[in-house]
Structures are given as structure tokens and as C-alpha cells.
């Protein structure tokens, strides 16, 4: 029944309207007149997932986190279908929806994002226990907020600290349970983690490090009433946030013959094992990792880059996913975090690191460089804004740490009149690692 349409009028169907799927749709539209359909059960229009927290905190309304006006999609002939996908039928080139209808495709893009991890602790199914990922999670949290005096958050990563900030903004007491010895210990080096630990506590959050939850207990109505930690302590609470990371949300590919491990397996062209089916964003897993990157990257920016890359391929210019230099950013309560290049929490054997911290304990910079060649490898910043353009250029050109330190002034991206620290940092670097003259 599948007839070959010419490429100008073929139908691109995208499952998922997050940053990856929507970027792909927009880029395909810019390059072509193909028919584009985006399916999402979660929301009618694209919204910024990372901004959900600001809706809960009252900084914005839901409308504000939708980057395009509602008529944008019709104007750009991007058809939106609000429905959940039941399954994919690659033989018939069809997507079956839970509402009983089906949509035929010529090319299919799976961009279904992530879902919160389960921890396996007893009591996870109780009312009041939730993850924080989707719009529905936010609505759920809003419902739970009314009767909530105290909440426990389990899992010390990005979503955990955001959830802590959200609840704190509604004057709900928060106990934040973290398995590692410091916040986000798998990514943040110990000094940075300690800095953020202090800041979390400074906001009145009850931060428990090196702690795990052994049991979640409920009341007669099936609603959560307390958690028990590995130290035997019982903490009363009305809400439990499970924020122990996310994993690819790939229920839609069941029985479709599309290969998967954690995520939908793709090659560097973002192609799955089945022709005309692609996967991008959080739900995709690279068959073999690219550089030092993880095979699954659940990051806003990589989702966007994958969407752009795949749009090229769909429009006839087969392109490889080449994400360039690693970067990321976050905000932990009031402290901004940025990183460019690779800096590991536990340095690799060739990696030398230089750490500087401001006496106020709220700003720091860490540089990573090759211990023999002194080639610059990466930077982590807390509380100081850095210019991505600067570090990308220096990483591109294999410059030495010495050049980076020498030109550090140009890397600053803080607002005008902010206190500058380059001179102090340069002096500290010199006294520890010397400043070499020649470049790599």
C-alpha cells in the first residue's frame, strides 16, 4: 500500500513536540515544502520543558514558556496532532494512535524524550510520589501542593535541585536526600559540590548527603506520609519527588522491530535500523559513543542540534550528527553554572586541573588541561558568566591553558560593572602551574 511519493510532497511525521522534534520540524519547513505532522499527547503546543519550574514558581504563566505564538504553526504549515501514540507499524508505514486513528508517514522521526527513573523502593506507587518531567507532572504537583507542609526529594541532580527550589518558593519545607557525598557528585568536582551544598543549606533546605531512602510509607488512604532513610530515620512528608535521573521514553517502539538498548539505537546519521525511521533527542542512543560523550544525551542543546542535523538529512543532504564541543549550563538556586569542553569530577589520568574560588564562597572557576602538553581541555564556572564563543575558538584551535589564562579577560560575559577576577586568577594560576610562554 505504500506508494513512493516524490520527495517534495512526502509526509514527515514527528512523534514528540519537545525541542528536538520541533527544531527538526521548523528546520524541515525552512528548507522544504514537505508535509509535516507533529504528534504529542503531552501538550497542544511546543513549550520549553526546562521552564516548567518557573510556571510553578509564578515567574511566568504557561503561555510565556511557549516560544511561538499559537498561530505560528498554522502559518508555517506544521500540522499538530494532540494524541498519544499506541504503536508504530513500519511495514505499513503507519503510526497508530491511542484514540484509534492512524497516521501514514513517508519518513518518521521519533523524538519522544525521557521519562523519570523509578528507584524500586517500596511505596513508589503511593499518591503524592511523583517525578518532575512533563507538563502532567507539573499539574500533578500543583494538585498535591495544597495540603503539603513538607516534601522529600530523592536524588541529587538537576531536576532534584529545581524541584527543591520550586517547593521552597511555595514555602514548603524540603528535605533533599542525595546518595553521593555532594550535590550532583557524578558531574561536579568536590569543591564545586561543596560550594553548592552550602548554598542549598543557606536557603533553608534540609540537605542530607550520603543518604538513601529505604522505604516510602503511606496512610490508610494510600497517600504518602513519610520516608525512611538508610540511617533508620523517618521523615514525615506529604510529597515525595523522585528525581534520580531520567531515561529514554521509548514505549512507542514496542513490537515495531526498531532496535533499542536504553534508547532507540541510531548511527551517527540518527538513522535507526529501519529505513525512513529516525530518532533524535533524549530518546536516541548512539550505537557507539561520540568522543567522550555518553551514548544517551538528555540535554536541551543536543536535542536541538540533533533536530537541525536530521532536518538536513530529511531534506536530501545526508548529515552526520557532529555536536562540536561539549557545553552545558544550569542554575542552582541563585548560582549559575556553565561548562565548556571536558572537566571531569574525578580527573582522568592525563588531566591536570586548576581550581580557583572567590573568598565569598559563591564563585569559582576550574580549568582542565593536559598535564604534559598543557593543551586546554575545558572549564567549569560557578557564579561567573563565560563567553562560549571564546572557549569554542580556543578548543577549536588546540590552544594551551597558558593562552587561555592570558586572555581570560575576554572570556568574561558578566553584566557591566560586575567585579572582575581575572588578575587574581592569573596570579593564582602562575603561582601553582607557572605561565608558559609558548602555545601548543
Amino acid at each position: 500500500m505504500t506508494k513512493q511519493r516524490d520527495s517534495a510532497t512526502e509526509h514527515i511525521v514527528i512523534i514528540g513536540n519537545g525541542i528536538a522534534g520541533i527544531t527538526c520540524a521548523r528546520e524541515v519547513r525552512k528548507k522544504s515544502a514537505k508535509r509535516i505532522t507533529v504528534i504529542s499527547g503531552e501538550s497542544e503546543f511546543f513549550f520549553s520543558r526546562t521552564a516548567l519550574m518557573y510556571v510553578y514558581m509564578g515567574h511566568m504563566k504557561f503561555d510565556h514558556i511557549q516560544p511561538y505564538e499559537d498561530n505560528f504553526w498554522r502559518k508555517n504549515r506544521i500540522e499538530l496532532v494532540q494524541a498519544w501514540v499506541k504503536q508504530i507499524d513500519p511495514a505499513a508505514k503507519k503510526v497508530e494512535l491511542q484514540n484509534g486513528t492512524a497516521i501514514s508517514y513517508d519518513k518518521l522521526v521519533i523524538a519522544t524524550g525521557s521519562q523519570p527513573n523509578k528507584t524500586g523502593v517500596t511505596g513508589e506507587q503511593l499518591k503524592g510520589v511523583l517525578g518532575m518531567y512533563s507538563k502532567q507532572d507539573l499539574e500533578h504537583l500543583e494538585e498535591l501542593t495544597g495540603g503539603c507542609k513538607h516534601a522529600v526529594i530523592v536524588g541529587g541532580g538537576l531536576i532534584g535541585i529545581e524541584l527543591a527550589e520550586m517547593l521552597h518558593s511555595r514555602k514548603i519545607g524540603v528535605t533533599f536526600i542525595v546518595r553521593e557525598n555532594g550535590f550532583w557528585g557524578s558531574i561536579l568536582p568536590p569543591e564545586e559540590a561543596a560550594l553548592i551544598n552550602r548554598h542549598i543549606r543557606e536557603h533553608g533546605i534540609d540537605l542530607r548527603l550520603a543518604t538513601t531512602v529505604t522505604d516510602i510509607a503511606g496512610d490508610a488512604a494510600g497517600r504518602v506520609s513519610s520516608v525512611v532513610t538508610n540511617t533508620g530515620e523517618r521523615i514525615d512528608c506529604q510529597v515525595v519527588g523522585l528525581t534520580t535521573g531520567v531515561s529514554p521514553n521509548i514505549g512507542v517502539i514496542e513490537n515495531s522491530g526498531i532496535h533499542a538498548r536504553k534508547g532507540v539505537l541510531v548511527n551517527t546519521f540518527l538513522e535507526t535500523n529501519i529505513k525512513d525511521i529516525y530518532a533524535i533527542g533524549d530518546c536516541a542512543e548512539q550505537t557507539s559513543a561520540i568522543g567522550l560523550r555518553k551514548p544517551v544525551e538528555a540535554v536541551w542543546y543536543t536535542g536541538r542540534i540533533m533536530g537541525e542535523t536530521l532536518a538536513n538529512t530529511l531534506c536530501g543532504e545526508r548529515s552526520e550528527y557532529a555536536p562540536g564541543h561539549w557545553f552545558n549550563s544550569a542554575k542552582f538556586f541563585d548560582i549559575e553554572y556553565q561548562t565548556y569542553g571536558w572537566v571531569f569530577a574525578r580527573p582522568l589520568e592525563y588531566e591536570a586541573q586548576f581550581f580557583w574560588q572567590h573568598p565569598d564562597g559563591k564563585k569559582s572557576l576550574r580549568f582542565s588541561f593536559h598535564r604534559n602538553t598543557r593543551k586546554f581541555l575545558g572549564v567549569v564556572s560557578l557564579g561567573i558568566r563565560l563567553r562560549q564563543e571564546f572557549f569554542n575558538a580556543f578548543l577549536d584551535q588546540d590552544h594551551s591553558i597558558d593562552t587561555v589564562i592570558r586572555y581570560l579577560r575576554k572570556a568574561n560575559f558578566d553584566p557591566e560593572f560586575y567585579e572582575r577576577h581575572e588578575t587574581v586568577i592569573q596570579a593564582a594560576f602562575k603561582s601553582k602551574h607557572q605561565l608558559h610562554a609558548q602555545q601548543v
Binding site: G58, M60, S169, E308, S329, K331, Q388, E419
Partner: protein, 525 residues
């Protein structure tokens, strides 16, 4: 879906609960206001001066104390609950305040008698009379409704400026900028003119606020004002020359180096109020494309209107005053023809590409009409240069733009449409500086490559209604004529994406090539 979130935004009243000290200082401030209300309804106070001082002091202490109680938490962005609160989320309190402010402006402009201004030589009563002691002390005359207004306006900028500084105490740009608007309002807009009036009791009235430039001060070139300045001794002549120098030399140079922010968010009184007392409402500006479209028409319409009105008024002034040794009508007409043609020709030749099609057509056709009309009228030896009586033009402008738009709508609608309604849709000064900013300035907001997460904080908190995110998520620099450079977008950005910069003009419009990270190729929306 949207209904659900409307409910959501009204949820959780606990978030607004006032603390004990907030209640105390709110009560003090309201008591200060209440004294003014009593004065308004003609309650007779003994020792008026002391009661007036007490009222002002109570308002100041109230706002300062309330702010200190509100921003006790750690330094950082304090926007929790903004859309839940009635006052900042267009609730009942916002509508009530909007009505009160609007009414206040109606009385100020058209019914000052009800505020107690003495009519037909009678002494002041009510609120205006309550301010007599302060007015005599500062300028040697009885108060007018405008003196009352100026005092309260300054008080608002100082008190809420303090609040703003406390709110943004982690951000030095915001702190310095706010000290600047507080200084310019207190010293140059309020105190200096009053003191100069006292020191020069015999000269006729003219504007002594040197930062209030034409065309924001639309009557600068009106016959009575020019005459007053010319007859105003050294002070009057100095004000005339300084005013001209700021319009034609000072302001273009400053705008070239710093963008229009040097004026709109650092110096200007309207901007000063918007940035301080108006700060709780900045998020209410519309970010719709349709609002932007309307803005471009309305603000440039006002600019054209004020230019025509000023030319017409000057022409009439010159013709009725031919022997004053001033410029003659003939010189003026040809001077204006050459000036306008030169401006339009310069923009057409050098900057055509920076303007949209509609802007180009409008500019050129307007230029032809204006210059043609002037030449035609002059050659017919008419008393009016645009076929319409210049006095009519002037009074229509004064009523519609000067009073109704800048005052009643501009401030009265703060709680409903945001704090920059006037600056965005009506201010001709903003329009001129905006054109310069867009075409001949080093100012831009730089975006930090790929770090944008499209969250929307920047757009939401832009008081000028610029959809900052639309640029930031593409990695494009923001060069918009309406941007007043307040820097709040950069402050509220949770990923450090935005930075206000003055830099090399050649790189101003460049899209950041790192956005995509693929061999430096970038995709442009």
C-alpha cells in the same frame, strides 16, 4: 489547557501572605498616604508643614521598611509569585490602582480645582494647599498641582528606587543605573528647577529641567516658551542653547556610544518612574507580533506629529516676530527643507537595508509630502506652513499626546499594560533615539551562542515588549530600536545568555556562528 493554567495562576494564596513587619510598614506607608487623602478632602491641619513632612516621611519609611522585609532572602532574582499576586498579576488590586492613577491624571490635567488649586487668584486649598509650605520653601511661590505631582513623582522614584536596588542588589549594573535615575529625578528634574525659580523670581516661566529635551518636552519650541527663554536673562539663554546642543549634538553622540539607554533607562524621568515604581508591572507588556506592529506605527506617528507641530509653531512664531533679529521665515523654511531632505537622503543612501520595506516607503513618502507642503505653503505666502492652524495642531498634540497619552494612559495603565506604555507606543524622544540606536549605534545585546533554553524569562520581563527569546534562541544579537537597555533580560536569564554591550559596529548584526557547532555553519530563521 489554558483554562487550567489560569486557575493555576490564581492558586496558592499562601504565597502572598504578608509577614508581621511587612504589615507594619504597609500600615505606616498607608498612613502617610491617608494624610494626603485627608488634605485632599480639605481637613485643616495645624502646622501644615509638619504634617506634610510627616506624610512624606511615613511613605518613605513605609516603602523602605516594606522592601527590607520583602527582600530579606539571599541576593538573587526575586520573581517568585509575580503572576500569583493580585497587584502584579492584573488582579483586583491592579485594576483598582489603575483606576485611581488614571483618575489622578484626569484631575491633574483637566480638573486641578478639585485637587485644591486656587481658581481665579484665590488661595490654594485641599491637597495643593497642603503643599504650599514646601513650595514656598523651594521656589518662593504657592504650590500648583504640578508641584504636588513633581514632589510625589520624585518621592515615588526615590522610595521605589530603593526597593529596586534592594531587589537587584546582586547586580551592579542595576544598582548603578537606579542610583542614576534617582539622582537625575531628585537633582535635575525636581530640586534644581525649583531652586533656580527661587533665585530668578522675575523671569517668566520656562522649563529648567535640562534633561527634559525636545521632543519629549514638546513645548520647547513653542512661541511662549522661546519668548520666555529669550527674555529669561542669562539663565533663559543658557537653557535655550543647552537644549539645542543636547538635541543636535549631545544626544546623537551619547546614543552612538551607549545606545538609547543613556537616556531612557539612566536619565529620563518617565523611564525613571517606569524602572522604579513601575517595576512590579514590567512583565505585563504585550509580546505579541501584533503589538510590535502597532508600536511601530504609533510611536512613529507621534514622532511625525511632533515634528510637524514644532515646525508649524516655529514658522508662526517667526512670522509674527519678524523684527526680533531672529531667523526669518524664509531662512527657516529652506533650512527645514534642507535638513529634512538631508536626513531622509542619508538614511536612504546608507541605511536603506536596515529598514523594513514599510518603513522605507513610509519615510520617503512622508518626506515628500512634508517638504512639498512646506514649499507650496511658503510660496503661497501663507501664515500656516501645513495648511492647518499651528495653534490647533499644538493644542491637539498637547491634549492627545502630551496629556492623554503620556500621563493618563502612560502611567494610569501601568498595572494593566506594563510600565512602558508611553515609552513604547508614544514617546517621540524614544522614537528618535530608537532610530539612531538601530541605525548608528555601538549598542547591542549579545547572545551567548547556544546556551539559550528558550525559557522565556527575558521576553516576559522585557518592559518594552521585545520578544528577546526569539533572538536569543537563534543566537542572534538583539538590535532593536525600542530596547531601552534596562538590562533586566540579562539579569533574569538563568543561563547567562544575554549581555548588554557597546562594541564594534561591524559585528553588531552578526549571528553567532557557534549556535550549531557544525563546521561553523549556522541556520538562520
Amino acid at each position: 489547557m489554558s483554562e487550567h493554567y489560569q486557575n493555576l495562576s490564581l492558586a496558592n494564596p499562601e504565597a502572598n501572605e504578608l509577614s508581621g513587619s511587612q504589615k507594619l510598614f504597609l500600615a505606616l506607608g498607608l498612613t502617610g498616604l491617608f494624610i494626603l487623602v485627608l488634605a485632599l478632602v480639605n481637613v485643616q491641619f495645624p502646622y501644615k508643614a509638619i504634617w506634610l513632612l510627616a506624610s512624606i516621611a511615613l511613605i518613605l519609611v513605609g516603602v523602605i521598611g516594606y522592601s527590607r522585609a520583602s527582600y530579606k532572602s539571599l541576593p538573587g532574582i526575586h520573581n517568585n509569585g509575580v503572576f500569583f499576586k493580585s497587584m502584579s498579576g492584573r488582579g483586583v488590586w491592579a485594576w483598582s490602582l489603575g483606576v485611581v492613577l488614571t483618575a489622578l491624571y484626569v484631575f491633574l490635567y483637566w480638573l486641578p480645582g478639585y485637587l485644591g488649586l486656587g481658581q481665579d487668584g484665590a488661595g490654594n486649598t485641599g491637597l495643593v494647599g497642603f503643599f504650599d509650605p514646601l513650595s514656598y520653601f523651594l521656589n518662593g511661590h504657592a504650590a500648583t498641582q504640578w508641584f504636588v505631582y513633581g514632589t510625589l513623582y520624585t518621592l515615588a522614584i526615590l522610595a521605589f528606587g530603593y526597593k529596586f536596588i534592594l531587589k537587584y542588589r546582586h547586580n551592579k549594573y542595576q544598582v548603578i543605573r537606579t542610583i542614576s535615575v534617582m539622582f537625575f529625578q531628585l537633582a535635575l528634574a525636581f530640586l534644581l528647577p525649583e531652586i533656580l525659580t527661587k533665585l530668578n523670581p522675575t523671569v517668566p516661566y520656562f522649563s529648567k529641567d535640562i534633561k527634559n529635551m525636545w521632543p519629549l518636552n514638546y513645548y520647547f519650541f513653542e512661541d511662549w516658551h522661546l519668548t520666555a527663554m529669550l527674555k529669561g536673562g542669562n539663565l533663559g539663554k543658557w537653557m535655550l542653547y543647552f537644549g539645542l546642543a543636547m538635541i543636535f549634538i549631545g544626544s546623537p553622540i551619547l546614543t552612538y556610544f551607549f545606545g538609547k539607554r543613556w537616556y531612557c533607562s539612566w536619565v529620563c524621568g518617565c523611564g525613571g518612574l517606569a524602572e522604579t515604581a513601575g517595576d512590579p508591572f514590567r512583565q505585563l507588556s504585550s509580546k505579541k507580533l501584533s503589538a510590535w506592529k502597532f508600536e511601530r506605527w504609533s510611536v512613529h506617528f507621534v514622532l511625525v506629529f511632533v515634528v510637524l507641530m514644532t515646525i508649524a509653531v516655529l514658522y508662526t512664531f517667526l512670522s509674527s516676530d519678524a523684527n526680533s533679529g531672529f531667523i526669518t521665515r524664509e531662512i527657516f523654511t529652506w533650512g527645514m527643507v534642507i535638513l529634512l531632505s538631508a536626513i531622509i537622503a542619508t538614511i536612504w543612501i546608507f541605511k536603506r537595508k536596515s529598514l523594513d520595506k514599510d518603513a522605507r516607503y513610509t519615510m520617503v513618502s512622508l518626506g515628500v509630502i512634508v517638504v512639498g507642503t512646506m514649499v507650496l505653503n511658503f510660496s503661497m505666502n501663507a501664515t500656516n506652513i501645513f495648511f492647518i492652524d499651528s495653534n490647533l495642531l499644538r493644542s491637539v498634540y498637547g491634549f492627545l499626546i502630551g496629556a492623554a497619552f503620556s500621563g493618563v494612559v502612560g502611567v494610569g495603565f501601568y498595572p494593566l499594560m506594563g510600565s512602558r506604555v508611553w515609552c513604547r507606543f508614544g514617546c517621540p524622544m524614544a522614537a528618535i533615539l530608537g532610530l539612531q540606536q538601530k541605525l548608528f549605534s555601538r549598542f547591542r545585546i549579545t547572545t551567548n551562542a547556544g546556551q539559550c533554553i528558550s525559557c522565556g524569562n527575558c521576553s516576559t520581563y522585557c518592559e518594552m515588549g521585545i520578544d528577546v527569546r526569539a533572538y536569543a534562541q537563534k543566537g542572534e544579537n538583539i538590535v532593536r530600536s525600542s530596547c531601552v537597555g534596562c538590562g533586566i533580560c540579562a539579569a533574569v536569564c538563568p543561563r547567562g545568555v544575554l549581555k548588554l554591550e557597546n562594541g564594534d559596529r561591524s559585528t553588531r548584526f552578526e549571528q553567532d556562528p557557534i549556535q550549531i557547532n557544525r563546521d561553523g555553519i549556522s541556520v538562520i530563521d
